[in-house]
Symmetry: C2
Subunit: 330 residues, 2 copies
């Protein structure tokens, strides 16, 4: 096509290839293996391609999310919209640099989403597998976009309820990151309804527990380990389940604590103020609440997995992945 | 999913259903009929659904383009990002209203693009038809996103060449609006390579001629007929082929005219100033150039269509559509 499109696309390519933990393809692949997929079988390559298409959905989600959250760095590099903003400014092109950067990033995110579809459609999986995968693929994208919408909508509306925060966890994180990828892997193989149910229970529970761990690390994490500033979520004003639980307890029993929380969230807190809010949240019992909930979820997930027909090897691997997701300190 | 997602989606639904000329599905459907498709046959409904999926791609393109172009109205209603910006302001939610509107519109555009894929995949067309359609569908989306990228990139870089403007016409308009929809219709039926070639030649030529007519109307159109302000493209600073041709002629022969054009484009011109620029563009011969080019393209398109194996009825219909696209005054 000419005109610099190829160069712009190479930016997207570099973004996708330069890093990321490949969590979603890993769960999908493990889901396929666990259902009985043979990694040395003739369909393994097609399945790998179908699983890898999840990374292009994720590229769209990240590129567009970074515009929405006005994030400036991602994976140690400027975000895509900032990269094109910088190019525009550096070349002294006409018009508004920030707007140009966002415009290009919107289009490249769209391209990643379109190519995700191309990739799964052209993966080489059988027509039967494609038919089984179709509703899962469809649900996953509708859900993650819904989760992102709920996230910004809750924040704008100032919805402080645990229910609202939990709904974002359910769709933006759990369904998109673990439940549906596992479901996709099972559908690729043609697993029966019982294994799919077990995977979905496991994925939802571990996915929510993963996010709850993230909530704790976002407030209590050690910056030298997490790589994020101390009390990051408090300063950023994130309406997490942890915060919503603390607020609910404070509203019921400790109006002064509730005021401290509401006045502090989303402001430029000093380290001392972060420490104070941490103590308040802990004293209210919210940390214990969340830790208990993580334990309950992890146990329920383990039960669902253990009693499933997944292969022994995949059970061990999924258990390791569940531990890594929910017991981590970074 | 709850949390207001359904209501947000209903805004997208209303946007898609409230209007638009359905140009792309019409060309796709006519392409299918022309290849021999039977509108009373058993596969007609599935084909209609596959063609209609083009409207969801278009919904994404419009919703995202309106952010990129900072447009405030579309089809007589506020654009999607403005609608959510207004809601945010009206409800006195927290954060920046304009940013919220854009964020929601980015997500709803993504949803339309994802649903376009869902719609064609679940249209009920045969696996063979789906396999034939796949590369066309894929090319079309990559091309239109490329055309949009080239459009904003040319504008930012101040690329004044006819070549650059023509490249945008080729991909953003011709390929996306006529060539690929016709190709898609032919692929749905399973037409042979000769008919596909004829359709593509016809579609590219008429598509470019359509855009050239648009260029003329954007400068010379009667506001009471076009519904757009007088000299709209000049004020908006659109780098059309018409303008690029005028500039090329002026640079070669009339530096004073070139200066007038460069100083005038993209500024808040009065009606008198618009009249002056119109006269300059006409006197330079650019209008004659563009009219000649339209005639040449329409004739080449007619030849390609006439000598093709398309049905007589579809030839008549496509000719009508070509005339409507290239001889219009609105």
């Amino acid at each position: 096509m000419g005109g610099g499109y190829e160069k712009a696309v190479s930016t997207l390519e570099a973004f996708v290839l330069r890093g990321g933990k490949r969590v979603r393809p890993s769960f999908a692949w493990t889901g396929w293996l666990g259902a009985g997929g043979d990694p040395n079988g003739s369909d393994a390559e097609a399945v790998i391609r179908a699983c890898a298409a999840l990374e292009l959905v994720q590229a769209c989600a990240l590129v567009h999310d970074d515009i929405i959250d006005a994030s400036t760095t991602r994976r140690g590099f400027p975000t895509v919209h900032v990269e094109f903003e910088d190019q525009h400014r550096g070349e002294e092109w006409s018009g508004d640099s920030a707007h140009f950067g966002e415009a290009v990033a919107i289009l490249l995110g769209d391209l990643a989403l379109a190519w995700a579809d191309d990739m799964i459609r052209e993966s080489g999986i059988s027509p039967d597998a494609a038919a089984r995968v179709s509703p899962v693929w469809s649900a996953m994208r509708t859900e993650v976009l819904g989760g992102q919408f709920l996230d910004i909508s809750n924040e704008a509306r100032g919805d402080e309820t645990v229910e609202a925060a939990m709904r974002v966890n359910r769709y933006k994180t759990a369904a998109y990151t673990i439940e549906r990828p596992l479901h996709l892997g099972a559908a690729l193989f043609g697993a029966d309804a019982e294994l799919i149910d077990a995977y979905r229970t496991f994925g939802t529970d571990i996915g929510i527990a993963f996010q709850l761990r993230d909530d704790l690390l976002g407030v209590f994490g050690d910056p030298s380990v997490t790589g994020k500033p101390s009390g990051d979520d408090l300063i950023a004003g994130k309406r997490t389940v942890l915060f919503a639980m603390a607020l609910a307890r404070a509203d019921a029993a400790d109006p002064a604590a509730a005021e401290l929380l509401r006045n502090g969230i989303g402001t430029q807190l000093t380290d001392n103020e972060v420490d104070t809010l941490r103590q308040v949240i802990t004293d209210l019992g919210a940390v214990t609440d969340v830790e208990t909930q993580i334990d309950t979820l992890v146990e329920a997930a383990a039960n669902a997995l253990d009693s499933s027909t997944a292969t022994a090897e995949s059970k061990a691997r999924l258990t390791d992945m569940a531990i890594a997701a929910t017991k981590r300190s970074y």
